[in-house]
């Protein structure tokens, strides 16, 4: 109808906001359900893990990315392909450890925290901890055990948001007994 014209909203952006708001509602619920922030962090990580192990399938099916030769390539794929596809941002990859088994993802903006302010009584809450779980779960499905954690967070007054990823080991493929 005639009104239609002035209501054109960017549906992609709105969809991101739907995700952001839903995530916010989830964290709110968790904060109500659990007494301390540590428990909430743990729960978020667990849920992220569950998402990650399924999201990797979606990612591999749609992105045309093959097996990564080393951790550097993995880092690139995560930052340039995965974050881009699902969150619409491209974090920068920095702070490599000399051994090449550790790096940081720097997020200039974090879509998960768009409308968020942390109240004072939640200073140990890692609001976006879901992301750590997602990364861990997804990488586990491609045989990489990785330790993921937030070391800086804009929500807690840091200049940027930094996710630290540490490669632990390659997971050997375990064939079920009697299976070749």
């Amino acid at each position: 109808m005639s009104r239609q014209s002035n209501r054109t909203t960017d549906s992609k952006k709105m969809n991101a906001e739907l995700f952001t708001l839903t995530y916010g509602a989830l964290v709110t619920q968790l904060c109500k359900d659990y007494e301390n922030d540590e428990e909430v962090n743990k729960q978020l990580d667990k849920m992220g893990y569950n998402i990650g192990v399924r999201l990797i399938e979606d990612f591999l099916a749609r992105s045309n990315v093959g097996r990564c030769q080393d951790f550097r390539e993995t880092a690139d794929v995560i930052a340039k392909n995965a974050f881009k596809m699902y969150l619409g941002i491209t974090p920068s990859v920095t702070n490599w450890s000399p051994a090449g088994d550790e790096f940081s993802l720097i997020l200039e903006s974090n879509p998960l925290v768009d409308f968020v302010e942390l109240p004072d009584n939640h200073n140990t809450l890692v609001y976006s901890n879901l992301l750590c779980g997602v990364l861990r779960g997804a990488l586990e499905m491609v045989q990489m055990a990785v330790d993921v954690k937030f070391v800086q967070d804009t929500l807690r007054g840091d200049g940027v948001t930094e996710i630290r990823m540490k490669f632990i080991k390659r997971i050997e493929e375990n064939l079920p007994a009697g299976d070749e």
Binding site: M1, T9, N15, F19, Y86
Partner: protein, 160 residues
Amino acid sequence: MADEAPFQLLHQELIQYIYKSNERGEINQESGRNITKLENLGFRVGQGLIERLTKDAARFKDELDVMKFICKDFWTCVFKKQIDNLRTNHQGIYVLQDNMFRLLSQLSAGKQYLDQAPKYLAFTCGLVRGALLSLGVKSIVTAEVSIMPASKFQVMIQKM
């Protein structure tokens, strides 16, 4: 974010979490409480979403206009498609029919898992209720599915 996969998976986790958290503690819980919880979560999200969505919109003429907005713009924003059919008895009851409901379309195309359907609809019911309330329309929203993934949402307007 150009993608809906994260939302779908998050929604799934939300359901899992709510259902699991009530299983601890209470033995004799009924699923109604879980549905209410999910509905309330959706309610809050709907309220927030509509604030963003109607930022530049013109004022609505009447109730029907609001419902049309929900069917077109709101649904497109959340589920990337419009409601397929909107019916009303002109006495405050609206039925919104979506023949390909996004949150069920991956689940089944028939009667399989029909008993699981309510928990996949609760969040969306809340979403609609929250959106409507923010637009000044108080309502009760329920949903029913006879064959997945087609879903019917019934909106009962309550006089303020």
